[in-house]
Symmetry: D2
Subunit: 132 residues, 4 copies
């Protein structure tokens, strides 16, 4: 008689936002940094990282900005700036009990309504300037 088989699938889909948020919360707690991490301050910290991201792109042409070059130190720098912004964004959402995934999915649906394909196609107008 064949033995039963136990197939255990351990499927990891995607990034575990909550796990990273917990890691960041622990990081701050160990350093007694919660006193600094008010949502208002986190917004400013995020803004300062966004400034650094701008610095990396400010003198590049659009074409230069599009080059993917794994060996370029600049791509690493960009990756870390994106990470910094991401980290503050997760921390801010955590502090305010905002579920990022829910917000993102809702926002994509809102955008789909604001920018219907037939009106938005091929132009960069803001939704309130689209010819309806």
């Amino acid at each position: 008689m064949p033995s039963p088989h136990y197939r255990i699938f351990f499927v990891h889909f995607g990034m575990n936002i909550k796990e990273i948020q917990d890691k960041l919360a622990k990081f701050a707690e160990e350093r007694d940094w919660d006193q600094f991490h008010s949502p208002k301050n986190l917004v400013m910290a995020l803004t300062s990282e966004v400034g650094e991201l701008n610095e990396l792109f400010q003198w590049l042409t659009e074409e230069q900005s599009s080059i993917k070059d794994d060996d370029s130190p600049k791509v690493d720098e960009i990756g870390y700036e994106i990470a910094d912004i991401f980290i503050y964004l997760l921390r801010l959402a955590d502090k305010l009990d905002i579920d990022i995934e829910v917000a993102v999915r809702e926002k994509i649906e809102i955008n789909a309504k604001k920018y219907p394909v037939d009106l938005a196609k091929g132009n960069s107008k803001k939704y309130n300037e689209l010819d309806k």
Copy 2:
């Protein structure tokens, strides 16, 4: 007679970053928006959303900024601004083939070295100003 099958699925769904990136790519493609989505332009679009996030916090005290109130329209607005920033961040990373999760995990490790608990505890100094 077939043996019973015990399939144990241990499915962890975190946020599927790749799936959202694909959704956003399709969204842009349908609207012929790739012509506008150079990394440089995406950084500016992200910056403009960060400006809107600042607007929501600019006159709040730190204490007021910390209030979690599900019924407040402001919390919804903040959630959508976070989503907007998140969306542009994912799109930017996608355009440059940057794996956000890898970058975030590496950056957290880098930060742990830059800010050792014993030196960073209870102060908000920048790593290069910590007394070593």
Copy 3:
């Protein structure tokens, strides 16, 4: 007989924006930097300086942020960040033939209409949220 007297008053009121703009234009020209100074790029450069200004304030309480201390190195740093933003703002306006003074004076008048004293007094609501 008393000699006639020639009184020459050389009164300099205020900052000569045009003179500074010309100085900045010459600075860029000597370095062959006009190729980088498109208005779009100048906006990003300005944004990057604004990020640095945010960094100086991000962990301060509002009260700490209000301290004027001439001997503090931080006040010098803030001064130079303000100068950096100011410089890019002047350069951007120059590139687009925008008269900053005219724009500022018009904007103050517009704001006076948007925020009438009796409605705006003591609150920080945006003009479109004022109870009219």
Copy 4:
């Protein structure tokens, strides 16, 4: 007989920064807004205006961004955004007793040393990356 008096007034009116700062201070005082205008908050308000400036440029090519067209409503909008940033910058400096003109003139000299013509010519490298 009194000698003729030749009084030659050579009056140069640049922008009177102090006069505008006083106007803005009065504007805030009349509306009881000083409670909101901590330097920290003013930095966030300035940032939010910088976000709006980014929005106006985000999808433009560099070439499109360089067009000066007095009849374009966009140029007016850009002018007012520059004015908004300028206004918050003046207010911030006023609150911290920072003399913008002095800071700007000093910063231009610092930049001249950081970016000597022979090293900086024709490239957009940051001063600490210039080949010396």
